[in-house]
């Protein structure tokens, strides 16, 4: 029996599988799932099945970079597609059925199924993942843009038309700025969903923070939990970051009224009330 074990050791050494040659050691013994997960995030360790070093800031940064890249591109494409469409539909005041249906149906389609579905059209890879995440991101942005534009005071639009602004100018100078806050609400919703869903990217040959989650035999529970914590933190940071951008891009004069339609209006009641009383 010992001869067999010795043989196995020799074999392991010959294969470079011995932990001594790895430059990392197995994770310390049991000390609670949460602490173990945090340790996975901050330091390298040997994989569960052995033979390779995993975890630590190096690998997680690499995975997070790829994760953020694919997410950012998807959100950017979704914004480019759905903001103009939503502005146009909202301005024309038509297509509410389209905007609402796209949103509802779009949210119901599972991304995982789309990933497999699109392999037949765009193949496995970056495009595949971007396409799936873009489709996930479009509905909230499209709906919010549409609703945002529809919520712009009609009097303001009429006034703009009265002073001679063209339809294009009305969209750009009146409706877009006044609905920016709502649009950003949609973008934030989308971004959160996209960053969380990008964990499925490894199923289409794009590395992301989903790797530790999808490879339990390599990363173990610590990797799953650790990566999930990092994803959650990035999601929060994205949301907060976009919130800051949202405030920055909202024109100064609109911050009070535009930030959120009804609730805030009560707080600053004196200003809108003046205008409201003039409404027939």
């Amino acid at each position: 029996m010992s001869a067999v074990l010795a043989q196995a050791d020799d074999l392991a050494q010959a294969l470079g599988g011995g932990s001594s040659s790895l430059g990392c050691t197995p994770a310390p013994a049991d000390r609670g799932a949460f602490l173990d997960a945090l340790d996975f995030v901050v330091s390298e360790r040997e994989s569960i099945s052995g033979g390779v070093c995993i975890g630590g800031p190096g690998e997680l940064l690499h995975l997070a970079g790829s994760h953020m890249l694919v997410s950012a591109i998807a959100i950017a494409v979704a914004v480019i597609v759905s903001v103009p469409l939503g502005l146009w539909l909202g301005h024309k005041g038509r297509g509410e059925f389209l905007a609402v249906s796209v949103s509802n149906v779009g949210r119901a389609v599972p991304s995982l199924a789309l990933l497999a579905f699109f392999v037949a059209f765009v193949g496995i890879g970056f495009t595949n993942v971007v396409l799936v995440l873009t489709l996930l991101a479009i509905p909230p942005i499209l709906t919010n843009t549409y609703v945002g534009v529809r919520q712009v005071d009609r009097e303001s639009v009429d006034a703009a038309r009265g002073v001679g602004l063209s339809e294009g100018q009305i969209v750009r100078r009146i409706e877009l700025p006044m609905s920016l806050s709502t649009i950003f609400g949609g973008i934030r919703t989308s971004a959160v969903a996209v960053v969380a869903t990008a964990t499925i990217a490894p199923l289409a040959n794009v590395q992301s923070l989903g790797n530790p989650i999808l490879e339990p035999q390599t990363y173990g529970q610590a990797g799953q939990l650790g990566a999930a914590i990092v994803v959650a933190l990035i999601t929060l940071a994205t949301d907060l970051g976009l919130g800051v951008v949202q405030r920055l891009v909202t024109p100064e004069g609109l911050k009070r009224t535009a930030h959120s339609s009804t609730t805030k209006r009560k707080r600053f009641s004196t200003i809108p009330v003046l205008r409201r009383t003039q409404t027939p």
Binding site: L15, G50, G51, V119, A120, L203, Q217
Partner: protein, 334 residues
């Protein structure tokens, strides 16, 4: 608390069964489990009806309840159903908790006594439950089984004798790709002919495992282009990759569309099936019950298991029906 978990599990299992087996009709009312269509009985089973002797019903077993579990993929459903139906035929009262998810969930359910037994793969059990490094798993099937049988004792579990087939990794190619590569037979030849430009797809899991992609480099000195996906044979069919990592009992392999290569340097550890059973349940099963388990798994060669899996994966039959048909075709039940 424990009862509420148990109730929840029961509901989940019931749901899974209702959804999965709606087409079969009927219910878990014991009996011979001989539901199923006539068309299947005309299909010749590769394993042949040679092996099976009719399972004898022992009414004394009626008071003994065995809860059989399984993980959540086709082969596990089939095996779980097969063991469950065979024990039912032997007179035992059988409860099923198939669809337990990953091996961690299934093993925990077994240790906690929420199930009495479930089929597990030797390699999986050693690496996942007992932290044996993949490279340290004995490549000799008997030795790896012996090691597992020894280790599970500590958890008051018995590893019943292993099956004749194993479900290990295998590298597969389409016939056309195989021709292009000059029809290599072994993985050594394949590695030499394919080189680093050839792409191979596999689950994301494969990338950093020494018994998968890393092993190709370590053992065969071969670094093909890796494509992580969930496609497997679809990747081959759709031209997404030249080769794919499959499992040796995949239903797709029974179709003659694909070629596999011999693992001549034993990169892949053995993954034979052993019916992991709680010691408490071993007493309930008795010698006769254990014999039933061993008997019904005996005709399961790699080819037979591939064919049974193909009935689920390709013919879209219900695992419950596939298991029942197998037991009847092999002569274990009428």
């Amino acid at each position: 608390m424990k009862t509420s978990i148990r109730a929840l599990l029961a509901i989940l299992a019931a749901l899974a069964l209702t959804v999965g087996l709606a087409a079969c009709g009927g219910d878990d009312d014991g009996g011979s489990g001989s539901s199923g269509g006539d068309n299947a009985s005309t299909q010749a089973s590769d394993g042949g009806s040679a092996g099976g002797t009719l399972i004898k019903r022992d009414e004394a077993n009626a008071s003994k309840t065995i809860t059989v579990g399984s993980k959540n993929f086709a082969e596990q459903y089939i095996l779980g159903e097969m063991y469950a139906q065979a024990l039912e035929a032997g007179g035992f009262k059988v409860k099923k908790q198939l669809d337990l998810g990953s091996e961690q969930v299934a093993f925990k359910a077994l240790k906690d006594g929420r199930i009495d037994a479930y089929p597990e793969y030797t390699g999986t059990a050693l690496t996942s439950f007992y932290r044996v490094k993949t490279d340290d798993v004995p490549r000799d099937p008997q030795k790896s089984y012996d090691e597992l049988a020894e280790k599970v004792k500590a958890d008051k579990i018995t590893a019943l004798p292993q099956t004749a087939f194993q479900n290990t990794y295998v590298i597969a190619a389409t016939k056309a790709e195989d021709d292009k590569l000059g029809n290599p037979k072994t993985m050594t030849e394949l590695a030499a002919k394919a080189g680093s430009k050839t792409s191979i797809s596999g689950f994301p899991e494969c990338r950093q495992r020494t018994d998968c992609l890393l092993g190709l480099k370590n053992v065969y000195g071969w670094t093909p282009k890796f494509i992580s996906s969930q496609g497997q044979y679809e990747d081959l069919d759709q031209g997404q990759s030249d080769l794919t990592f499959g499992f040796s009992t995949d239903g797709a392999l029974s179709t003659d569309k694909y070629v596999t290569y011999e693992d001549d340097k034993q990169l892949f550890p053995p993954y034979y099936v052993t019916f992991l059973t709680r010691d408490a349940a071993i007493e309930k099963l008795g010698d006769a019950g254990q014999q039933i388990i061993q008997d019904v798994q005996k005709p399961l060669t790699e080819e037979v298991m591939q064919e049974l899996n193909s009935r689920v994966a390709i013919d879209k039959q219900e695992p419950r029906k596939v298991a029942a048909d197998y037991l009847r075709e092999a002569g274990f039940v009428k």
